[in-house]
């Protein structure tokens, strides 16, 4: 073997080692959570890479808790409603911003961009007051309302980018036929926007599903909590004897749907993320 071949071989080997390293670092914590969730609590003190015994006890325990089931239900309701509202308001707003040239358009776009940069804490006390005034404290409705602060700007931004790319001729034809803007949106653009809406909806769903600060602050009782808060508070008050088995089981339950979504819609998510960022 010549030295040239040798160096080529080392380069290839190094590359594959790097790939392996990246994959292991990315996947291992999730794998280990799954492994822990199937380990009986009596075996948790033994640190092992591979499971030697498997049990469903941790899963049975969390699913027997009404509050956990309720939290999953709340999360589904909140995230779905947030997606629906963000898309409804986003598609009409993005038509206005993407297709119509009017005075104040740039200002509106800048305001939206500014809101998406808001630190959530900066509105916490003001939003608390609004939510209490609307009688939505300790109610999923308050979360649905407050989550629009981060899903709406993002949705509008990405949908506007997509809306701009649609061919002009379509709209000209609609205008020539005397279609009103509302008809143009629902009959002409909506059918073409489904891919973009799926992408943004998916990203909004993930963001709402994962949100923690508002969910922690604007809910009080177990029956109104969402999943992230339920998992964070599973740890209980004491720093000792954390129920790691059930915590990991709950973590796996709420994460598996997301991981499946991400793997199935990989391409879509990547295009949505970059579309949102390239314009930033």
């Amino acid at each position: 073997m010549t030295s040239r071949q040798l160096s080529k071989l080392t380069a290839r080997l190094g590359f594959w080692l790097l790939v392996a390293f990246v994959v292991v670092v990315a996947v291992f914590p999730f794998y280990y959570a799954i492994k822990t969730s199937f380990t009986p609590s009596s075996e948790l003190f033994r640190v092992e890479l591979w499971p030697t015994q498997a049990t469903l006890a941790n899963y049975l325990q969390i699913f027997s808790q009404r509050s956990f089931l309720q939290a999953i239900f709340n999360s589904v309701v909140v995230a779905t409603s947030v997606v629906f509202i963000a898309l409804l308001l986003g598609i009409t707003a993005s038509y206005a911003l993407g297709r119509v040239r009017f005075r104040g358009r740039t200002t509106v776009l800048l305001v939206i961009l500014g809101v998406s940069m808001f630190p959530q804490v900066a509105v916490l006390s003001g939003l608390f007051e609004v939510i209490r005034a609307l009688n939505l404290y300790n109610n999923p409705g308050g979360l649905i309302l407050s989550y629009t602060i981060f899903t709406l700007p993002f949705t509008v931004w990405v949908l506007t980018t997509f809306m701009r790319q649609l061919p002009m001729e379509l709209e000209e034809a609609a205008i020539m036929d005397g279609a009103t803007p509302w008809v143009t949106i629902t009959k002409v653009f909506l059918p073409l926007m489904w891919p973009a809406m799926a992408t943004t909806g998916l990203l909004a769903f993930i963001a709402a599903w994962n949100e923690f600060l508002f969910a922690l602050t604007f809910t009080l009782t177990d029956s109104q909590r969402t999943v992230p808060v339920a998992i964070a508070l599973l740890s209980g008050g004491s720093a000792y004897e954390l129920p790691w088995g059930p915590i990991m089981a709950a973590s796996v339950v709420v994460t598996v749907p997301l991981v499946v979504l991400v793997i199935v819609f990989q391409r879509r998510i990547v295009s949505g993320l970059t579309a949102g960022a390239v314009k930033g």
């Binding site: 790939v19 990315a26 630190p119 804490v121 608390f128 990989q266 970059t274």
Partner: protein, 325 residues
């Protein structure tokens, strides 16, 4: 619609119909545009604009969580006040300054690491190899996992007695005795940074990958023909070309890092050694029920982030201009 309809105006084939001078269609469209924007603008005012103003107002009052209606205007007392030979207020609180320092340290270190690792991962994903789609899916997993869940997963792996990280490090003889990663003040910040880097690197990698895939191929062919070392090509060709994408990734990550809350809340709770500005403000607001004081801290956080953004955009534009010349 009192003005005459100029339907006889010539119809240019190409330019946007929206450019027609004041026609009926155009006016109708502009009016419709504002109708369509209204629901979104009203919602944003309700959840962002108004609350922000109220927070600013509360920061000048003695509002408390139990009674936000009946408040007294106390001027700048929440920020800074000299009373009885001592300074009080957020700006005189060493814990606040500790939180500012922690947040700045956390943001700079974690964003730098994320950009570094993100570029490496993007370069790997940009190479052609079998199973690339699978690797990309694997890399996306940390991004998909809720922050709370990833914090819990790492808290368990970093557990001082039963954690696998201590176990592995001790098996390989790197450390001699277990480290209390999340409890020991000298390690807890690094634990937090590690979790954040693990979770956010995929995002940076994806943005950089998108930029890499748009690069012109001919530069690389030319460099290869000239036999230039790949490392040199990276620093001389690739890096300057992906700088705009990197800057976008950095601003997104920086804004996220400056308002960090979840990871720290779950990993180390309210410990001062890792307390961020968001944690500090929320603690005052909710746990100590002091809405006025907490709002002052929130307002300062907002100002700091706004200033950082403006400074970053300003410097970024300057640098891009210099690079373009």
């Amino acid at each position: 619609m009192s003005s005459p309809v100029t339907e006889s105006a010539p119809m240019p084939a190409r330019p946007l119909p929206v450019r027609y001078r004041s026609t009926k269609v155009r006016r109708q469209r502009v009016r419709a545009a504002w109708y369509f924007l209204a629901p979104m603008l009203v919602t944003l005012t309700m959840v962002a604009g108004w609350p922000l103003l109220r927070t600013l107002y509360f920061s000048f009052t003695d509002a408390s969580l139990s009674d936000m209606g009946d408040t007294l205007f106390i001027g700048l007392e929440n920020y800074l006040v000299y009373d009885d030979g001592r300074w009080f207020g957020v700006l005189a609180d060493p814990v606040w300054w500790r939180a500012v320092w922690n947040t700045a340290y956390f943001s700079v270190v974690s964003v730098s690491l994320e950009v570094m690792f993100g570029v490496i991962v993007a370069l790997v994903l940009n190479a052609e190899f079998k199973g690339r789609t699978l690797v990309r899916a694997a890399v996306l997993i940390p991004w998909a996992i809720p922050t709370i869940v990833s914090a819990q997963m790492w808290a368990w792996m970093l557990n001082d007695q039963f954690g696998i990280i201590n176990h592995l490090l001790m098996t390989f003889g790197i450390i001699e005795s277990p480290i209390a990663w999340t409890a020991d003040a000298s390690y807890s910040m690094w634990a937090v940074i590690m979790v954040d880097v693990w979770k956010a690197t995929p995002f940076v990698a994806l943005l950089v990958l998108a930029a890499l895939q748009m690069l012109p191929k001919d530069c690389y062919e030319a460099a290869e023909v000239d036999g230039i070392h790949p490392v040199r090509v990276f620093f001389k060709v690739t890096l300057p070309l992906i700088t705009p994408a990197l800057m976008v990734a950095v601003i997104f990550r920086l804004l996220d890092a400056l308002r960090v809350f979840d990871v720290i809340y779950v990993l180390t709770s309210n410990s001062t050694s890792t307390m961020s500005m968001s944690i500090y403000a929320r603690q005052q607001l909710v746990e100590f029920q002091d809405v006025g004081y907490g709002s002052a801290a929130s307002t300062l956080l907002f100002l700091i982030i706004a200033l950082a953004t403006v400074a970053y955009l300003y410097l970024g534009r300057k640098q891009l201009q210099l690079g373009g010349e």
